[in-house]
């Protein structure tokens, strides 16, 4: 009996050892993280992780959490995003990047830097991306709590629409108007704020479609929100141009003095403080609280 037991114990020990060796080793959480978008940087800050550097678009108007104010800033420019020499010198374990910098992401991988693309285009995508980032930095529980907190705040911000105005959101690239569609970040936010999005039935995978001034007049929106795609220095000039646009003045929005200009990037790119953005849109532009 004894030798049989010993053999069985030995087999069990061997099995346990094999199982332990075969199990994936729990990798350590990355310590040197670079976040290239305001969304990923602010998500890390909300998860209690401080990145070693954050990216900021050239002439951008990005808003970052207070805890990131002393963090090193890497200027981002096309086509690669950050300067690759500067990035390599930081020796990051993980770079949270976006699809915009695809060429740079390839180079990062050539430099043996782990580059992960996180760029939500809609609110549900944002929840998934937060959990993804939390998993990457080994803060799953904090990630779940953050998502729950944002969801609850968004639900509160979406309560009790007094009205549902027809809203056209126009991206101004130079003097050419492009309308925000439902599959853009700003379009999604506007609908959650209670707007009926006026998009002239246009469709585009990019989330934006070029429209003519005639279309703006024909669609006759109640509210027009202009979103200049410009450097901070040029904002005042573009704001004046949008507000005094003669064609827009022919619409109900123009007649009722409801042409607004959003001068930050909150409708252009994802950020975790969407409840505040929805509240701001409702109070400032839609007047439907």
């Amino acid at each position: 009996v004894l030798p049989r037991l010993t053999r069985r114990s030995a087999s069990l020990a061997a099995l346990l050892l094999a199982a332990a060796l075969a199990a994936p080793a729990t990798a350590a959480a990355p310590k040197r993280i670079v976040a290239l978008s305001p969304f990923s940087a602010n998500t890390l800050a909300a998860l209690g992780v401080k990145p070693i550097a954050i990216g900021e678009s050239l002439g951008g108007r990005d808003t970052f959490a207070r805890s990131l104010r002393s963090t090193r800033v890497l200027p981002l420019a096309h086509p690669t995003g950050p300067n690759m020499e500067q990035l390599a010198s930081l020796e990051p374990d993980l770079v949270l990047t976006s699809q915009t910098w695809r060429r740079g992401n390839r180079t990062m991988r050539n430099l043996d830097i782990r580059a992960v693309e996180t760029e939500p285009l809609t609110v549900p995508e944002m929840y998934e991306e937060i959990e993804h980032i939390a998993a990457l930095v080994r803060r799953r529980a904090e990630g779940r709590r953050l998502v729950a907190r944002i969801t609850s705040r968004v639900r509160a911000a979406m309560r009790d629409y007094q009205s549902r105005p027809r809203v056209m959101v126009v991206l101004g690239v130079g003097r050419t108007p492009y309308v925000f569609l439902g599959n853009s970040w700003g379009g999604d936010i506007l609908q959650r704020a209670g707007a009926r999005l006026v998009d002239a039935d246009a469709e585009s995978p990019s989330g934006f479609a070029r429209i003519s001034d005639e279309t703006v007049v024909a669609e006759d929106p109640d509210v027009i929100i202009g979103v200049p795609h410009a450097r901070a220095d040029d904002l005042d000039e573009i704001r004046d141009y949008m507000r005094s646009n003669e064609t827009w003045q022919l619409t109900s929005a123009g007649q009722n003095d409801r042409i607004f200009v959003s001068s930050d990037d909150s409708l252009l790119q994802a950020d975790i403080d969407i409840a505040s953005t929805i509240e701001h849109v409702r109070t400032r532009y839609l007047n439907n609280r």
């Binding site: 086509p79 690669t80 300067n83 020499e85 500067q86 060429r103 180079t107 690239v173 070029r210």
Partner: protein, 328 residues
């Protein structure tokens, strides 16, 4: 005369060597010269400095040398074959075709950005093939005037396609601006792995065409009496230039200025139009100009990298105008 030519070659070579040294030693991050040398000799310690030199600066410097040389040679071949001082890769539609191919990938298929060099190469060669096809069919087929007109028409067609793409994908246009302005990117050897065979065939063809182009310079009739076939030479020169220019566009975007100006500068400085001198010296001059321009573009406002096209114009135009004044 030989002394003047030798002087031009030595000056271009010296400029190239200085440019290469600066390109490897300078960048957004200060890497001590000793570390640069150690990295190049394989003695560098593992770390960011060695990575920066071997994986970022070295491939980019090699790219600049090859692209500069290729565009210089392409311009020299076309100006010789078409007997036209305004000839450059733009004339045979390559620039517009490559631009369309690259913008198509960047704007319509941004998820497949790895295909950018292939797109630029394929459409550049397609545009050149269309130009040659149109120019060679019908009466007076293969004539210089016909080739240039076909190039202008096909170029306009692809340029319109590029504009159409930029209108259709407005939010992605920014990613295309750098390519259109012309600029090198630090992204290792990936692109060179795709295009090096086209450079190799283009340079080999160029070498074979040196003597026939000298004969062609005497006029079609004289060249024919010497046993040369002018139309075939033009076709060969066009094909070599198309390969070199399309491969260059695949790596560095649209740098039309280089192919136009460098052969002129070399011809005026050397005081001869002999292709045995102009073709190799244009390769050296083009490489030196692009390496210097790219180093300036990388280091003028670090850590931002500016497109190299405007820098080459700033470097090349004063010299060109000075030589032009002297020549007149």
């Amino acid at each position: 005369m030989w002394g003047r030519r030798a002087l031009v070659v030595v000056a271009a070579l010296a400029a190239l060597v200085a440019g290469v040294a600066a390109s490897l030693a300078l960048g957004a991050i200060d890497v001590p010269v000793r570390d640069v040398v150690d990295a190049l000799l394989g003695r560098g310690e593992e770390g960011p400095a060695t990575q920066i030199v071997l994986k970022l600066r070295l491939p980019r410097t090699v790219d600049a040398i090859l692209v500069g040389a290729a565009l210089g040679v392409a311009g020299a071949l076309l100006q010789g074959a078409l007997a036209n001082p305004l000839a450059s890769p733009d004339v045979i539609g390559v620039t517009a075709g490559s631009g369309f191919g690259a913008i198509l990938i960047l704007l319509a298929f941004p998820g497949s950005v790895a295909l950018l060099p292939l797109g630029a190469l394929v459409f550049g060669l397609l545009a050149a093939s269309l130009v040659f096809l149109v120019a060679w069919i019908g009466p007076d087929g293969g004539g210089v005037g016909r080739l240039i007109l076909a190039g202008i028409a096909v170029g306009a067609l692809f340029a319109a396609g590029t504009t159409g793409l930029m209108t259709a994908f407005p939010d992605r246009v920014q990613s295309a601006v750098f390519f259109l302005a012309g600029g090198l990117v630090s992204d290792g050897w990936d692109e060179m792995k795709v295009v090096w065979p086209y450079f190799a065939v283009g340079f080999a063809l160029a070498l074979c065409l040196i003597r026939p182009l000298d004969r062609l310079a005497l006029g079609d009739d004289v060249a024919a009496s010497l046993g040369t076939r002018p139309r075939l030479i033009r076709l060969g020169a066009g094909a070599a230039a198309a390969l070199l220019a399309a491969a260059s566009a695949a790596i560095a975007g649209l740098l039309g200025f280089l192919g136009l100006v460098v052969p002129h500068v070399i011809r005026m400085a050397g005081g001869t139009a002999s292709h045995g001198f102009v073709v190799p010296a244009s390769a050296l001059g083009g490489a030196a100009l692009l390496v210097a321009g790219d180093t300036l573009a990388r280091t003028a406002k670090p850590p931002l990298e500016l497109p190299v096209g405007p820098f080459m114009v700033v470097l090349g135009v004063p010299m060109f105008l000075w030589l032009l004044r002297k020549a007149v």
